[in-house]
Symmetry: C2
Subunit: 612 residues, 2 copies
């Protein structure tokens, strides 16, 4: 290979972990992943014998597939671009998807959230049945036999939906015609049959928070409301678009786009169901109901509703009312008659996850002046004051997810999550205490705030040449956090002017949103009694730093509350409590939604808040 | 090729047409089809340029696929065994499926049936809406906007099922927010939204009779009950099993067997929907409701219900009550909220098609003594007498479908359908007046009856050597109907002792069933006022011959009524008339089902009726 070739570096993007690395042509995908700080399972050490390091090529041409690889891949895998990372040599800029099972350590997902476990008030009945099996003397059809058993048990009129009709005959035989029918109340003395179960097992519900990036799932005991198992996973739709806009774009440009995005999501949820059922020691037949919360685009993609109109002004939701979807109708592997409740959406960019968060934090009916927000690519902000509710959605961008940041990555192992500058010395802390490989949202926020305090940058975000850590590279100033010698990886981890600007845009959008709501309620920031910060990033961010850079108003720190994944907690509450479902409707009915794109003074507030 | 090779003949079976032919190795599939009397579309005359003669290899090895063929086949076709008949050379016994579009002429399907067109009493409402489109001043979600339009139109509470929620936003936009909502009454003042349509179009319903072999579909104007379009097709499940037992077997031995059989069926129904919608000049969005009738196995496979228990004693139905299935839930392309009504089944081997036939013929509430039967592989027989209903199912076998008969075939062009023996001369008539290629059910029945009358066979079914047309071949006697010289095909068309025996078994089963019901009702055959023969075979059979061989009791011919596809007519009635749906429930509730397998004197009656 000539020197010229060797010096040409390829850009390799790893999804869904969101890590980018530059490597020389001819580097294997396994090696590139190592350089990016991603630990792939490679039990055999890269000899193509264990077949564990499966990755999927999304774009970029690579070395031809070998017979050895073929023997380790299923036909379906080979057809859909799967390769063994150790055998695949890179020759072009590439995008590579890493399935969760090929990762040694999962990404950090926020599962815990504030919100009480509520008593179960959603009504369930268990009807004990001991039926006579069919015989030549009694040719009664299965469903008729089952109905007459329920009649004897005091349930004269029950509804059986198609998926129950198709599954019940097998459930009855599997349980030798004896067991308990799980009946869901659907009104006064009316019930829907959901499952037929062995006599001793409990009923379990599933609460899910589908984020644009991450998914959190909880299994809840429907007898007492206790959480039995939980897990997190990446949203597999990331491979079709980083953010909601690009996913809407995918649907607009692919005839079956909505179906594809729905089915990859359902596939991941089914894998999570399997995992959590195992952890909780229950069968899928016991999963009798679900609640799914998410932003409006996630809600629509999950439910199969059109999303095109969410990508164009005036950005209206197809569906905003609370809906119930039969789990079987979208292929979710639960009890045959299980339904999924989706809480109402507030607007095209304020979804049911925000409603769930307001429920879990109690913000929705607080007597105080409360701001509650969840930071993401879109940041939903709600203000509660004197019984009135106001909310808006700010286009804060993906900087806090690590995207559009040169050394950015999601909050996975090896990501810098804390930065301090003490007497000109730069101190960093990475997730898992590993050698740093990039920087995640809380780390960037810290870095920028510390750079402001250390006067490394000015109020407009420009790097001061000569300040500690600042160096010129390619005619531009950059701030070196970690050198490649220190980290042992290929590249220095630096913060650029452009990175700082991304943070300015993000924080200005959030702050302007807060200010608009305060103006609407004719309130000064100082009058806020509580400032609730929800979501994974919100949990890990340093509040002092967030105030320092002006993202949040300057309030005493004790008024802030970091509540974790409150949307997930809200989903759990909605699963067990019918009062919470009524409250969700109340929230949406009372909510004053402020559309910022047409708000008179928004642009001005936005620009004002760009300063650091 | 050596003489030995050339003399080795291959057995080639063509599905779904049911024709078998013997050919030499190296014969092309196109040529073999010609020899079997099947006309494939081959515009180019077999030069692989038109690509029209597509067939699907189900079993048997053939010549390798050529590049020319590949260029004419889609990837999916090539993967699933499709070939061009003209390019594929046979080298083994093979089973070959001929898709309908590769046939020049369709098989004869019985579409007409007795039964009045009833007034429409199923309640439909059309709500005219002219909605304001969303704007930045009015961000109301689509579904909320739609609901408020319905409220203004006087429908305060409507149900919207998931498939309607997913489709309505697009329907609203396509119609520029103006049109009519189709609302289906679901009880007192309650409605379900089914579709949103342009202001001028009508509502249309779909009635389907799914037979084990054939499918008949009708589109019905729901304003006046008139039939707008109709068509017939072969049941594509034939490729997975000739009869219901072998299809149950397929489901028992294939994990996704039920899904496969359901989806090939739905695929064919969707193609028929497309064809009929075009013929009627309507859009699929206008197809707001369906009725599907079939035997219990067809019912279960259509609805996705388990069938294993239908193949084992005591042969109970999973579902016998009337059910409604959302069309979208099984992939039927109709209006988004369309439901399919399936009438109740009577027993494991007497399905809703029998109920529909009883409705259409009026037999169910006749004041006379009436037998009504539908002949098939299973023959369902019903006796109505003094307000009581009795029925049974006879295992009459597939002989009348042309199966298990040496020269047998289904009722397609070139099949012998009439046989007469006049003064020792054998006269035959074939469907379409073509050179005969085989013999179908009505032809076999004729032949056997005429052979009895001409004393070619005795009462036990043995061929008399020396009788006209009888010859010895391979130590066995056979009766020559048409020689190969006369027909121009490879083989003589003959009737063997075994063929005659198949007819004896079939007719004995049917007659014994009739006798059992008469015995149950304590009635003599002569007391029957009406003897109704339904179904395609029943339409074409010669009644005098059927009486002659003892299949039917010896009644004056005018008491017999051949009513064609009365099940299809009954399906149409169930589509428009809520009174008919109530009557269907009444029939099933009142029906005395007699299980012949355990009936005390059945075997004796069966043996007695074997004589000719």
């Amino acid at each position: 290979m000539s020197n010229e070739d060797a010096s040409k570096k390829l850009t390799i993007d790893f999804e869904p972990i969101g890590r980018r690395v530059k490597v020389s042509p001819g580097t294997s995908v396994l090696e590139a992943a190592r350089l990016a700080g991603i630990e792939l399972v490679a039990v055999c050490g890269g000899g193509a014998t264990c077949g564990r390091c499966k990755v999927r090529m999304m774009s970029g041409s690579v070395s031809a597939i070998t017979d050895t690889e073929r023997s380790k891949l299923s036909e379906a895998e080979a057809k859909t671009g799967f390769r063994l990372a150790c055998q695949t040599l890179l020759s072009e800029d590439s995008r590579i998807q890493i399935p969760p099972q090929s990762l040694t350590t999962p990404q950090r997902t926020q599962l815990e959230g504030e919100g009480d476990e509520l008593p179960v008030t959603v009504e369930w009945k268990l009807a004990s049945l001991a039926l006579q099996p069919p015989s030549l003397d009694d040719l009664t059809a299965d469903i008729t036999r089952f109905r007459s058993g329920l009649l004897d048990a005091g349930f004269p009129k029950v509804e059986l939906e198609a998926p129950v009709l198709t599954s019940l005959p097998e459930q009855l035989r599997k349980n030798h015609w004896e067991g308990r029918a799980a009946l869901r109340s659907t009104g006064a003395q009316k019930y829907r049959v959901v499952s037929f179960l062995p006599p001793t097992v409990i009923l379990v519900g599933m609460a899910v928070d589908i984020g644009t990036t991450k998914i959190a799932m909880y299994l809840v005991d429907l007898q007492n409301g206790c959480t039995l198992a939980k897990s997190g996973a990446m949203n597999p739709q990331i491979s079709y678009g980083e953010d909601v806009i690009s996913r809407i774009g995918y649907c607009n440009t692919h005839e079956d786009g909505r179906k594809v995005l729905q089915s990859v999501l359902v596939e991941t949820l089914n894998a999570m169901i399997e995992e959590n059922c195992q952890a909780a020691g229950i069968a899928r037949d016991q999963l009798v109901e679900g609640v799914v919360v998410g932003n409006t685009v996630m809600h629509h993609l999950f439910g199969g509703f059109p999303v095109q109109q969410l990508g164009e002004a005036p950005y209206v939701a197809a569906v905003s009312e609370a809906v119930e979807i039969p789990a079987a109708s979208i292929g979710l592997m639960m009890a045959p008659g299980a339904h999924i409740y989706l809480p109402p959406n507030i607007a095209g960019y304020v979804g049911g996850d925000h409603v769930a968060m307001l429920l879990a934090t109690g913000a929705w009916n607080s007597k105080k002046n409360v701001i509650a927000l969840d930071i993401g690519t879109n940041t939903e902000v709600c203000l509660v004051s004197e019984g009135k509710l106001y909310c808006c959605s700010c286009a804060s961008g993906p900087a806090f997810e690590g995207a559009h940041i040169q050394a950015g990555m999601r909050a996975a192992r090896g990501a810098i999550e804390r930065v301090e500058i003490v007497n000109g010395n730069i101190l960093v802390q990475s997730i898992g205490g590993l050698a740093p490989v990039g920087i995640c949202g809380s780390g960037i926020l810290d870095a920028v705030a510390e750079m402001v305090m250390a006067k490394v940058i000015d109020t407009r975000g420009s790097l001061r040449s000569g300040a500690p850590g600042v160096r010129a590279r390619n005619d531009r100033q950059e701030f070196v956090l970690v050198t490649s010698e220190e980290s042992g990886t290929e590249n220095d981890i630096v913060i650029t002017r452009s990175d700082v600007n991304q943070i300015q845009l993000a924080k200005a959008a959030i702050r302007a949103g807060v200010e608009v709501l305060l103006a609407e309620a004719k309130l000064e920031a100082v009058a806020l009694d509580e400032f609730i910060v929800a979501g994974a990033f919100g949990t890990y961010l340093d509040l002092e730093h967030a105030v320092r850079i002006g993202m949040f108003p300057n309030l005493p720190l004790k008024r802030f509350k970091q509540v974790g994944n409150a949307a997930g907690s809200g989903a759990k509450q909605l699963l067990v409590s019918k009062e919470r479902r009524r409250a969700a409707d109340t929230i949406v009915a009372k909510m004053n939604y402020i559309e910022l794109t047409t708000y008179r003074s928004f642009d001005q507030m936005y620009v004002q808040n760009m300063y650091l």
